[in-house]
């Protein structure tokens, strides 16, 4: 019924952003093993001919999309609507892009704390809190000016 986690990985499988709204089941060590599995699964799938969702475990399916060199992966409940989460990812990327101005991986590396700020304004508690790009950007500009 909600987003379990959102992870942003680069092509080498290095985590750039990670947010867990509920802990991984049975994985105590910060989910290293799970993240590695996710990377393996997602990076091995065919971009063109396979769908953007794949069942990952008994309770989770992954919705993912690659934008340039970054994978954005969401873990959601099995009975959730797949496609709507794909739009979540798309919206997040659009906002990152507008905020940083043509975003690239380095922006997220150097301004990791701002990337998390964007995430927090968009999704908390595993649910979307704001869906309008304009409203989000207005809010982010305001917060950025406070910093």
């Amino acid at each position: 019924m909600a987003i379990q986690y959102l992870i942003c990985l680069n092509k080498q499988g290095i985590v750039r952003l990670a947010r867990f709204f509920q802990p991984f089941l049975g994985d105590s060590k910060d989910g290293h093993a799970t993240i590695a599995q996710i990377y393996k699964l997602v990076s091995s799938r065919d971009l063109k001919h396979q769908s953007n969702f794949v069942e990952f475990s008994e309770s989770t399916k992954l919705i993912y999309k690659r934008y340039a060199g970054l994978y954005f992966v969401m873990g959601v409940d099995l009975r959730d609507e797949e496609l709507i989460y794909l739009s979540h990812i798309h919206l997040f990327v659009e906002v990152l892009d507008a905020f940083f101005g043509n975003v690239c991986e380095l922006d997220i590396v150097f301004n990791f704390y701002k990337a998390y700020m964007i995430l927090d304004e968009m999704i908390i508690g595993g649910e979307l809190q704001e869906a309008s790009k304009d409203v989000l950007l207005e809010r982010l500009t305001y917060l950025d000016r406070l910093s």
Binding site: F53, I84, L140, S147
Partner: protein, 955 residues
């Protein structure tokens, strides 16, 4: 807007990150991190007062180290937590932010949580209560992100978070955050809401009233997930009353919003649609609240939704279908549209769709089966499978009549194996006795066509063919032909015995099949590559019915055929053939010497089972020869019919349903209506009866209640907020159906909002005494001085006592306060009486009365009677009583012979147990009335009726 380089961007941090990136070699990298940790440790421990900026910079560096080392360095960073907590209480936003952000990253580590928890709770409380919106926003973000599974935060902070959510003065941005933060806490422990039922009711209402403004889509987006959770985990029944409101929002978005672009704010659109996130959430919530027809909780299925709302929901489906046919600009638009379409169609199947509506939904889905995107095909098929298995006959009939060819085509051409499997599942569900030959032929053709398919998929297909063939075959010869063909397929397809064993059982039980089967079996077995399953079936059936075979094959020929196959077969199969040989010997003792020779040879077998069988069979034949007695015939008696009706193959189908509902007179399997994917589970409702008793009636409820029993219209209830007027209408042709119209008049100087009504019936399942159906609901907002109508019908099914009359639960907010009114509806058995002046029948005379009184007495004795003595309110004796009776529709018999005595007659009507004549004598003495009532329906009816009279007299 490029914001990356604002002035305060912590140069030290940027340099550090750049440094680390340039030293990619692991050793350098590690050394650089280590030296930075030491540096920060020295700074933090130096005793020199750090200023806020420095503290912020160092904490941010620690956060970066945590991320860049992939959390491996956590234990080396714990020293910084104190400074981080210090930073949290800073009054500079950017410093506070860095502290919260760092803790959001670290907090789920138990070692971090234990160290900071106490200080964190204090800081969070302070920030939540702060007047600074930005601080409160940070605290709410933190709870929404990191408080999952933390009992401490849950119990310490739930009140503060809820306070922000409910306060009318909180800015919208905080309300949104508070809603989701509260959801996070609620997920940890629902008892923060449910432990106190009064609080639950109040908070519940506060939350739902946040949806009042049906055009504030931004707040709605954050509140809907909370409502969804309440419906799933706390109380879907309480949410049922939200259905009209939620449907209205859905309607405004989908029907109005897509037709008229100006009716929906542009910034709330995404991919050309009115906020699709809200739409999917709304549908998901409706799907949870509304039960599927036939569900045990029929009070909460479509039949309890008013017609206007149903109409709106159906229009939503139609609009979405129309939209689906318009070309979409890009893949994103298409996929968003389809998401909504799929979930809407899925939900709409619960709303008792018409055949035409179902057909157009099916057509739309089938249209999408040809889509190029794999995603779309997969989801369209998924939707189709759900639709066919949940909504039954209409859906299946529609697919059958139009789309079978398309599905076959899809099966033949699809390359994605999960889509293929779903297609086969769907075909399986769609098969009935009409189309079984067509479907099975297609499936068989696919299996034998040499397509490259996965082993599991193939064996699944074979089992499905076997089940379908048996279940729906209406031509036994065809059944045998198909089954044998299946068995003849190469061994690699399936390696279990269920299929041939089942075939043998059926052939044994049907004499007409013996010859047909044996004839065909011989042909298959003669084939050089006969499969093991065919040989096993042949060994068994030809052994039994060897004499039925075409005369071209003698028993001797059969023996030779099996001898030939014997050496190529597995041991299990050989053991069967050994038994076959004895049976063949029994049919034709002439082959004796060959059989003996064969058994003698197998005495040397390495396999103990084969050796034993050969030895025993050999001894049997030899014994017969020596003693002249027939032992073999005794042991190998003809097979008795099998009595296992259950097909073992069905067990493997899991939850897939067969269309047994379509079988004319066919047995209904209990599992056949199970959907492959059940809708989300709802919290098991408490028993309905106890629910009735938990409601506490509002003061002075009895005035309106009694009045309603006596008068057909009047005032039902008055309070400073609200006045309720009622009017009762009775159908002359169906007196047990009572139509009631309530008019709510707002009396307050503030508008009434979130005005929701709910019926609480004494019992809704297992033969309920009455059923209530809403016809028209009042609007959810009542402006000052305005009124709104509520129409509904009560169907009386059998007599019930006034203790069980329906309750009306009203909830609303007015001027910031939340109110609830619970009233008992004055509808009872007496409401079904038609007044004599209306039913046109002749009134009865005293003589008739006496005659009938006697005949009831003779038939039922005391069983048909009830007696009670009541105090009369005023001294006006007979006149008042007579007029009350007459108002209630009871005929008062004119007579002057007996003083102080009133005679009455009436007929009560019920749906399930019929109509009953009732007679009553009322003796008046000194301010009391003694009612004696007799009824053809027995004492229960008399009891209920005299109870009504008592209430009527109390007005």
């Amino acid at each position: 807007m490029v914001a990356a380089m604002s002035q305060n961007s912590m140069k030290g941090l940027q340099l550090f990150i750049a440094d680390l990136r340039s030293s990619q070699q692991t050793e350098d990298h590690k050394r650089r991190i280590q030296s930075e940790i030491i540096n920060i440790q020295r700074q933090f421990g130096s005793g020199n007062a750090l200023n806020g900026y420095q503290r912020k910079k160092y904490v941010a560096k620690l956060a970066y180290i945590y991320i860049t080392t992939n959390t491996a360095k956590l234990n080396d960073l714990l020293f910084g937590l104190d400074q981080c907590c210090e930073l949290m209480s800073s009054q500079v936003y950017s410093e506070k932010y860095i502290a919260y952000m760092t803790l959001e990253l670290l907090y789920h580590n138990e070692s971090v949580a234990t160290q900071v928890r106490d200080r964190l709770v204090l800081s969070l409380k302070k920030d939540l209560e702060s007047n600074n919106t930005d601080y409160a926003a940070l605290a709410l973000n933190f709870i929404g992100v990191a408080a999952r599974n933390d009992d401490n935060l849950t119990h310490e902070l739930s009140d503060e978070v809820f306070q922000i959510l409910r306060s009318p003065t909180s800015p919208q941005i905080l309300k949104k955050k508070a809603s989701l933060a509260f959801l996070t806490l609620l997920k940890n422990d629902v008892t923060i809401l449910t432990q106190d039922s009064r609080k639950e009711k109040l908070w519940f209402q506060r939350i739902t009233s946040l949806l009042d403004d049906s055009e504030n889509y931004r707040l709605m987006l954050a509140v809907l997930p909370l409502v969804e959770f309440l419906a799933t985990k706390v109380e879907y029944k309480a949410c049922f009353r939200l259905v009209p409101h939620l449907s209205q929002i859905l309607y405004s978005c989908i029907v109005v919003g897509t037709k008229d672009p100006s009716s929906f704010p542009e910034e709330e659109r995404f991919a050309g649609l009115p906020n699709p996130w809200i739409l999917t959430k709304l549908i998901s919530i409706l799907n949870i609240i509304v039960a599927a027809p036939g569900h045990s909780d029929s009070q909460y299925d479509f039949s309890s939704i008013d017609q206007a709302t149903l109409g709106k929901l159906r229009l939503c489906v139609t609009s979405m279908l129309e939209l689906g046919h318009k070309p979409a600009a890009d893949a994103l638009t298409r996929s968003v549209r389809n998401t909504i379409l799929f979930s809407l169609i899925n939900f709409a199947s619960k709303l008792d769709p018409s055949v035409a509506a179902m057909t157009s939904s099916i057509n739309a889905l089938c249209f999408l089966l040809d889509a190029r995107e794999t995603n779309t095909r997969y989801l369209a098929l998924d939707s189709l499978v759900k639709l066919c298995s949940t909504s039954g006959r209409n859906a299946r009939a529609s697919v059958r009549s139009e789309h079978m060819k398309q599905l076959f085509q899809l099966m033949r051409t699809e390359r994605d194996s999960s889509i293929f499997k779903k297609t086969v599942d769907l075909l399986y569900t769609l098969t009935d006795s009409e189309n079984v030959q067509l479907v099975v032929d297609e499936l068989l053709q696919y299996v034998t066509s040499g397509n490259q398919i996965d082993h599991h998929v193939r064996s699944d297909l074979v089992v499905k063919i076997a089940v379908l063939t048996e279940k729906f075959a209406n031509d036994s010869k065809w059944y045998v032909t198909v089954s044998l063909k299946l068995l003849s397929l190469s061994n690699a397809f399936f390696n279990d015995d269920d299929i041939w064993q089942r075939l043998c059982q059926i052939v044994i039980n049907n004499e007409t099949l013996h010859k047909v089967t044996c004839d065909q079996l011989v042909k298959y077995i003669c084939d050089d590559h006969a499969s093991e399953a065919i040989i096993k079936a042949g060994a068994f059936l030809l052994g039994e019915f060897g004499t039925c075979v075409d005369e071209r094959y003698s028993i001797g020929d059969l023996f030779n055929i099996f001898t030939e196959k014997y050496f190529a077969a597995s041991n299990a199969c050989r053991a069967m053939i050994l038994s076959t040989m004895v049976k063949l010997y029994q049919h034709d003792p002439q082959i004796e010497s060959a059989v003996i020779k064969f058994f003698q040879l197998e005495l040397n077998s390495l396999d103990i089972e084969l050796q034993t069988r050969s030895y025993e069979y050999l001894k049997m034949i030899q014994f017969e020869k020596v003693s002249g007695k027939s032992l073999v015939r005794l042991i190998f008696e003809p097979m008795v019919p099998f009595n296992s009706k259950k097909n073992p193959l069905l067990g493997r189908m899991g939850t897939l349903s067969l269309s047994s509902f379509d079988l004319p007179g066919g047995a209904r399997d209990d599992h056949s209506s199970k959907a492959p994917c059940p809708p989300p589970k709802r919290k098991i409702a408490k028993s309905v009866q106890s629910d009735y008793n938990t409601h506490i009636l509002s003061p002075k409820w009895d005035e309106g209640f009694n009045r309603m029993l006596k008068h057909k219209q009047g005032v039902f209830y008055t309070s400073p907020f609200l006045k309720i007027i009622y009017r009762i209408r009775q159908s002359r042709t169906q007196p047990e159906l009572i139509e009631v119209e309530l008019t709510y008049v707002s009396q307050s100087e503030w508008p009434i909002k979130s005005f929701l009504t709910e019926w609480i019936s004494w019992k809704t399942d297992e033969n309920p005494p009455y059923v209530i159906k809403n016809i028209e609901l009042p609007s959810t907002t009542l402006a000052v001085g305005s009124r709104s109508t509520h129409k509904f019908e009560v169907l009386v099914r059998h007599p019930f006592s006034l203790e069980q009359s329906p309750l009306l639960d009203l909830q609303f907010t007015c001027g910031g306060s939340v109110s609830s009114i619970v009233l008992k509806l004055g509808v009872a058995l007496s409401s079904t009486i038609i007044p004599p002046q209306l039913n046109g029948k002749e009134t009865i005379t005293l003589a008739q009365f006496v005659k009938r009184w006697r005949s009831i007495n003779e038939a039922l004795g005391k069983e048909g009677e009830s007696q009670r003595v009541i105090k009369l309110k005023s001294a006006n004796l007979s006149g008042g009583v007579v007029s009350t009776l007459e108002k209630m529709g009871i005929q008062v018999i004119t007579q002057h012979s007996v003083e102080n005595m009133i005679f009455g007659a009436a007929i009560t009507h019920t749906k399930s147990v019929g109509n009953f004549g009732c007679l009553m004598k009322i003796r008046l003495t000194e301010g009391t009335a003694e009612i004696t009532c007799k009824s053809t329906g027995g004492s229960k009816v008399s009891e209920c009726l005299s109870e009504c009279i008592q209430s009527g007299l109390a007005v």
